[in-house]
Symmetry: C2
Subunit: 211 residues, 2 copies
Amino acid sequence: MSINFQNIRTEFERNKDLTNIKTDPFSQFKYWLQDAIDAGTIDPTAFSFSTATKDGIPSSRILLLKEVDNNGFYFFSNYESKKAKDLEENPIAAILFFWARTERQVRIVGKVSKISPNKSDDYFKIRPKDSQLSSIISPQSQVIENREFLEKRKEEELKTNNELTRPSYWGGYCLQPQSFEFWQGAPGRLHYRYKYEKTPGNEWNICMLAP
Amino acid sequence: MSINFQNIRTEFERNKDLTNIKTDPFSQFKYWLQDAIDAGTIDPTAFSFSTATKDGIPSSRILLLKEVDNNGFYFFSNYESKKAKDLEENPIAAILFFWARTERQVRIVGKVSKISPNKSDDYFKIRPKDSQLSSIISPQSQVIENREFLEKRKEEELKTNNELTRPSYWGGYCLQPQSFEFWQGAPGRLHYRYKYEKTPGNEWNICMLAP
């Protein structure tokens, strides 16, 4: 049976105009993220993270942004997961934030690298104990028999590892943007799109794209 | 200045258990989509669509699902956009739905092809006039001088094209899934992940993945 959703249609009325775009894309990002938080977005730091094998087979999953500074966007993962394997053969990845309440997207493309073990340790330490435990015992993206497998490993880990130290196969990544696009919905599908591209001189070149 | 979001953390409490997964991934998808609609999700049909160049440079943007049947997932676009160019050189793409309210993701990978002109015409006809107009006049993803360029083209188009017929550079696509993953958040980051892969005999092989 076919289901169609042709009547589900949001008319983007919130932002009639976008004339005031910042010259620094990181500032623009922080401003929009704060706006999404203030609007009551659930999981405002959630983003779609897309990798591709070197042959170009893409895959996407949701991650949570843990930090942003003028160097890049930081997040954490198992270093033996599918995404980690993709990044080993092809470090260029795409980030997409979509905030439905504020009718905005931010698209980012850049190179991903691992952060220092010390920085990964710092973040691991402040995670809730249950999250630490899951990172240690779960062989991310591998086939498992059932849930009991995970529960059993949890119990065993708790018996031997009371400190819950960060395992070497779990840690942080940083994506350093080469380009940003800021998209804001507008009435009649005439959306605003501003693209920022890094020049060889490390400046940001800004242009408007057709929606 | 660095901003960190290490205290933004949703504990996924809604779904303590997931034992009842359907053997047909399309039925499972429709069930979860309906659940997201019923939960009051804004833009429940919005998904992240990721393409990659043949060299593996990924890019992602939000699209709206317009129909799903047992053949695949249908959506519309300008056929000269960045995504269309990526699809011409590499037709394998990834779809990601994320419904924060129901704490679920669906990840899909498959081959994308254009739908028939007739089917594109059918959908074009039922779009609001303003959306039709935008599809006709906007050279999607190309650099434009300013907003006035679009407004001017709109006016000109209205003078000469009263019927607003579908232009050949705008139409539908269908992604035929080769794999699905259904992800449901669970307490302590021990999320549920079920992967469906199409076998050579066109059956679906289901396994559980470690979170």
